[in-house]
């Protein structure tokens, strides 16, 4: 069945690298998808801060549009995911409310569309084995922490995470792709994105804490799935540094950029050039280090094999022909 892909406003412009890398990863994993026809904004935070019915109707319009493609919708943006998922849950369980929403819409939403977040879709509908089976590039020396933020894991009844304090979906996907995932305690702390425009001081402090915790955990990059977290941690890193007197330079990568690289996509395919804190030196170094580690392991393995062979030869040849064995070895 074809998946309805809902890009959302951020992926069209400010997070174009998230959009591109997600599409490419879906292609590599042979997921068939089509864009939701004539999609419009999900309403984001302002709509549901103003009026509940407004927020639900804006989201329901997209669910209705998605029914033209199928009954599964993927919203890579964590904020769009929350809005669309909330609408799905509330409309599907309450017929009276569905009728109220349909009164507002131009034409009614009669379907049963299931909304997926990106990690959730990749885990449940594609699976770790399939991803692990297609890994082409060794990223075992890339040290990252997955950052879930507010909207991807909470509340667990909705998102399908077993524990909303310690979500694991991104961890599992990154491990399947062979990345060195570090454990940390800031997976779900808020980065302050939604007050980034009106209350700058609060945002700077929250963002700074996330960066500091990631570095302390031994990570060299933070992996995110939310365009708002990305803008905050990546684009606003210099300002946050200035405000706090710090000098962080932590690349912030989208989940699909990392998965894509592991699956053999190029830096251009996943648009590494669009990230503000340049991730390319780090990626190159990690790949080179992985190759060095592999060479070293191969060398050790060869040495060990040679030693074992030599020992066996000794045993077979007995004591008299020791000289010959040494000659053969050198």
């Amino acid at each position: 069945m074809t998946l309805a892909y809902y890009p959302g406003c951020s992926l069209g412009h400010s997070s174009v690298e998230f959009d591109r890398s997600t599409r490419k990863v879906l292609d590599v994993l042979a997921v068939e998808y089509k864009d939701v026809p004539e999609w419009t904004c999900c309403g984001s935070t302002p709509a549901h801060m103003m009026d509940h019915l407004l927020a639900m109707s804006l989201a329901a319009r997209n669910l209705r549009q998605a029914t033209e493609i199928g009954d599964e919708l993927l919203a890579p943006c964590a904020s769009c995911y929350q809005r669309e998922k909330n609408a799905e849950i509330e409309i599907h369980r309450n017929d009276a409310f569905r009728a109220e929403v349909n009164e507002i819409l131009d034409s009614p939403y009669m379907g049963w569309v299931t909304v997926y977040a990106l990690p959730e879709y990749l885990l449940k509908r594609v699976g770790e084995e399939k991803i692990a089976g297609r890994v082409k590039i060794d990223l075992s020396q890339l040290k990252v922490v997955p950052y879930y933020g507010c909207l991807l894991a909470r509340p667990s009844e909705m998102t399908g995470e077993a524990n909303d304090e310690q979500p694991m979906m991104m961890d599992r996907l990154l491990r399947a792709a062979g990345v060195d995932v570090k454990w940390w305690n800031y997976k779900t702390e808020c980065c302050g994105a939604s007050v980034g425009m009106p209350k700058v001081e609060i945002q700077r402090r929250l963002t700074g804490k996330v960066l500091q915790q990631a570095v302390t955990a031994g990570a060299e990059a933070i992996v995110v799935c939310c365009p708002l977290c990305h803008v905050n941690l990546d684009l606003k890193q210099p300002q946050t540094n200035r405000f706090l007197g710090t000098d962080y330079e932590v690349p912030i990568l989208y989940l699909t950029q990392v998965l894509g690289l592991a699956l053999g996509l190029s830096a251009d395919d996943v648009m590494l050039k669009k990230n503000l804190v340049d991730p390319e030196p780090l990626i190159k170094r990690a790949i080179a280090e992985a190759a060095a580690v592999k060479r070293e392991e191969e060398r050790k393995a060869a040495e060990k094999a040679a030693k074992t062979a030599a020992r066996e030869a000794k045993v077979v040849a007995g004591t008299g022909e020791e000289g010959e064995a040494t000659e053969a070895e050198s």
Binding site: L58, C150, P155, L235
Partner: protein
């Protein structure tokens, strides 16, 4: 939550806490009594705005600028929205602080400079209009009821 339980609704509606909440949902996820605290905050915020209480100016301007942009373009035109917001706040210093952010976005091709009208915008504008009319009608009805039954 305790203030609401003991009936001090007014105090809650005027509190700064409901305005500062950034809807990170931590409280909802952690509540041992399974109260959807963030959801209640969201409702309190809409009520306090509807009753014209002391809602911070930036919040009103932010939401209004956002919805105005949507009703005109269907999908969020970032630059247009930021311009509307900063014009609304009448705080040029705030806007200046964001200029260093906008520049790399434009040079990296990550900011749409001229907004385009998305297909389906008409319906978005109608959704906005209809729900706002409905909300105003509801407030009026509630105000009449409140006047009719003084406690």
């Amino acid at each position: 939550m305790r203030l609401l339980q003991v009936g001090l609704v007014e105090k809650v509606l005027d509190s700064r806490a409901i305005q500062l909440c950034i809807q990170c949902l931590t409280c909802t996820a952690r509540c041992p009594r399974n109260i959807d605290i963030a959801g209640i905050f969201e409702d309190l915020r809409t009520v306090s705005a509807a009753q014209d209480r002391d809602v911070p100016e930036y919040a009103k301007t932010f939401n209004k600028a956002f919805m105005t942009s949507l009703a005109r373009y269907g999908q969020l035109p970032e630059l247009y929205f930021m311009a509307l917001f900063y014009l609304g706040t009448m705080k040029p210093t705030m806007a200046m602080a964001d200029v260093p952010l906008a520049l790399p976005m434009v040079t990296k091709g990550k900011m749409q400079v001229l907004p385009r009208r998305a297909k389906g915008t008409g319906e978005v504008a109608r959704i906005y209009k209809k729900t706002m009319e409905k909300a105003r009608a509801r407030e009026k009805a509630e105000a009449v009821i409140a006047q009719g039954n003084p406690e």
